[in-house]
Amino acid sequence: MPTLTTPIPANPAADWLPVAVFLVTAVLFAAVLLWIPRLIAPRHPTPDKARPYECGERVSGEFWQQIHIGYYLFALVFIIFDVEVVFLWPYVRVLGGRLIPQGLGLFVFFDLLLFVGILVVALVYAWRKGVLRWE
């Protein structure tokens, strides 16, 4: 019977040691990476080089401007699929790997179909409501 239980260590504080190590490493890593170019890279700034990079296009207009609401809706729809992938991958790896050898492949398939189906409903809804049309 699968439960969500993890064993409790005798000394809970010891559990946090890896986290502390990780935090220190992360900060050091970023600091060192910022520091190395300062040390070795040549610097000859020109006005063209100092401009913000916009995928090779010439910079046009101000940054502090109103952004089309359409971006926001697109971003929301994008997140639907982002989350979908994030969820499907571990599902297939962990559950699929365990259940398919047991002959439950069809069950896994329909289970995923239910999940993807709900997302498809959301996409169809967004599509019919005109979210995907750029005006």
């Binding site: 409790i8 069950f107 409903v121 019919r128």
Partner: protein, 504 residues
């Protein structure tokens, strides 16, 4: 090998409601604007099918041994308790949809979203009653909450509706935060999020670990429990977490208010009882005094505030707080658990019938744009519209708790549980609170029957068939549960017995 398929089979009513919601949403997108009135009827189909399945499942267990199944490990429990609450949610939803049919059209609300969100909310409620694990409980709670936040503000044209939605959302997000934080602390203290194992197969549950490790005074665990109680008390509209109730109930569209006051509250109490009597039953000495205080506060404040209201919708909102207090009395009676759990379920069903019934009459009498809801609008109603007045009178005396109505027996069983648990003080408060509530319930009856106005001054009422059916069903339920309570009570008791864990 086929266990997983069978497990999915236990979720039939939930899946039917979920697929129904998706179907309504899609249908709305492809129907021409003029045909969208059929959506309400479409929404009734999955609700009816699910109700049939649930009733059949309960019927199959009556007389025989009650069945209890774990679904997906121990995340969900398909037991008579969850089936019993499913009946409450589905009845509330069916009545809610019946109330909405005419209203959605008249107020030009977006029908597809309206009915789809109602079904999603019911899905969340049903999952909440089944949850025996904290993360699952939280997700169900959120499914329910998000749907209801939007429903409260679906009348976008009315400022009060938008205000209600925003208030509900902001305070609700806060309550969700409490709930998650509580889950985190409880997980930190025990290392599990599984509440309990009614079959006694696994000891590594919250309830089992509290016993095994003697976590009775563990500060982390107690803080977590306190936060969990706050999170759920918010949804259940319990004082002092009730500040949102009057404004949201008044601002939300009337059918949504009716559905919320019955369904959301029942869902919150379903989860509450499972949490306290299941996962934290070994800490009863700790949480019982807390519930005692909350119950007294809720009953006193709810009733005291209801007395002063001149608007019937707002009066019912405050009275709904008072009824949450009565339900809390049953939860506090934890030494008489077997009776207490059954009485919670029975009261939830009776409150659904009489509460939604009263809101239905508000719709019958009410005019476009939620007008005509002052107490004075009920003047002389009996002389002009005797049936509407009679139904309203029935719901009022049932809410007040008069004999031969459902409300009386509901209160009776709660008092029974309280007395068995030696909570004499709480029983006395409940009795006194009921007496106080007679004043504002009977005042409506007095306005309808004892005041005279010129007949022309009584405005016409809505004669929609769907409203009439809803009122008739609610009235029949109130009478049936009051006169022939044995079947419903047997189910409630069976539900109470299966919730009690055999082992851990």
């Amino acid at each position: 090998m086929t266990t997983t398929w069978r497990e999915l089979g236990y979720l039939t009513p939930e899946l039917v409601v979920l697929l129904g919601a998706a179907a309504v949403l899609l249908l709305d997108l492809f129907l021409p604007r003029g045909r969208r009135r059929v959506l309400g009827g479409v929404a009734l189909v999955p609700l009816g099918v699910a109700l049939g399945w649930v009733l059949r499942a309960l019927w199959a267990q009556s007389g025989g041994p009650s069945q209890l199944h774990k679904v997906f490990g121990a995340l969900l429990l398909r037991d008579p308790y969850s089936l019993g609450f499913d009946v409450v949610f589905l009845v509330a939803a069916i009545l809610g949809v019946l109330l909405s049919l005419r209203y959605v059209e008249r107020e030009a609300l977006p029908a597809g979203e309206y009915y789809a969100l109602t079904l999603f909310a019911v899905f969340g409620m049903m999952m909440m009653a089944m949850s025996a694990e904290l993360i699952t409980l939280f997700i169900s709670y959120e499914i329910l909450s998000l749907a209801v936040y939007v429903l409260a503000g679906i009348a976008r044209g009315r400022a009060v509706s938008a205000e209600a939605s925003l208030k509900y959302f902001l305070l609700g997000a806060f309550a969700s935060g409490f709930l998650v934080y509580g889950i985190a602390l409880v997980y930190g203290a025990t290392g599990t999020t599984v509440l309990y194992d009614p079959l006694g197969q696994s000891a590594s549950t919250i309830s089992g670990l509290i016993l095994e490790r003697g976590l009775f005074g563990n500060a982390l665990l107690l803080a977590g429990l306190a936060l969990l109680v706050v999170g759920i008390a918010f949804k259940a509209a319990i004082v002092p977490f009730h500040a949102w109730v009057p404004d949201v109930y008044e601002g939300a569209p009337l059918p949504v208010t009716a559905f919320m006051s019955a369904g959301v509250k029942a869902a919150a109490f379903a989860a509450f009882a499972r949490l306290l009597f299941g996962g934290f039953r070994n800490l009863g000495e700790v949480w019982q005094p807390v519930l005692w205080v909350l119950a007294v506060l809720t009953m006193v404040l709810g009733n005291a505030a209801a007395i002063r209201q001149q608007n019937v919708k707002r009066m019912l909102a405050y009275s709904s707080i008072a009824h949450a207090g009565y339900l809390l009395v049953a939860l506090a009676a934890y030494t008489a658990r077997d009776v207490a759990i059954g009485s919670v379920l029975y009261y939830a069903l009776t409150y659904t019938a009489m509460g939604v019934g009263a809101f239905a009459i508000l719709l019958v009498v009410g005019q476009e744009g939620e007008a005509n809801q002052e107490l004075s609008d009920y003047r002389g109603l009996a002389s002009r519209h005797p049936w509407a007045a009679a139904a309203m009178g029935l719901f009022m005396i049932s809410l007040a708790g008069f004999p031969l109505t459902a409300g009386f027996l509901g209160k009776f069983y709660i008092l029974n549980a309280a007395l068995r648990a030696d909570l004499d003080g709480l029983a006395v408060v409940l009795g006194l609170a009921s007496v106080v509530s007679w004043y504002y319930y009977l005042r409506v009856v007095w306005f309808m029957y004892m005041t005279e106005v010129p007949k022309a001054a009584v405005r016409p009422i809505s004669r929609a068939t769907s409203l009439g059916v809803a009122v008739a069903v609610a009235a029949l339920l109130v009478i049936a549960l009051g006169v022939f309570p044995s079947t419903a009570l047997a189910v409630a008791q069976m539900a109470g017995h299966t919730l009690l864990p055999l082992g851990y």
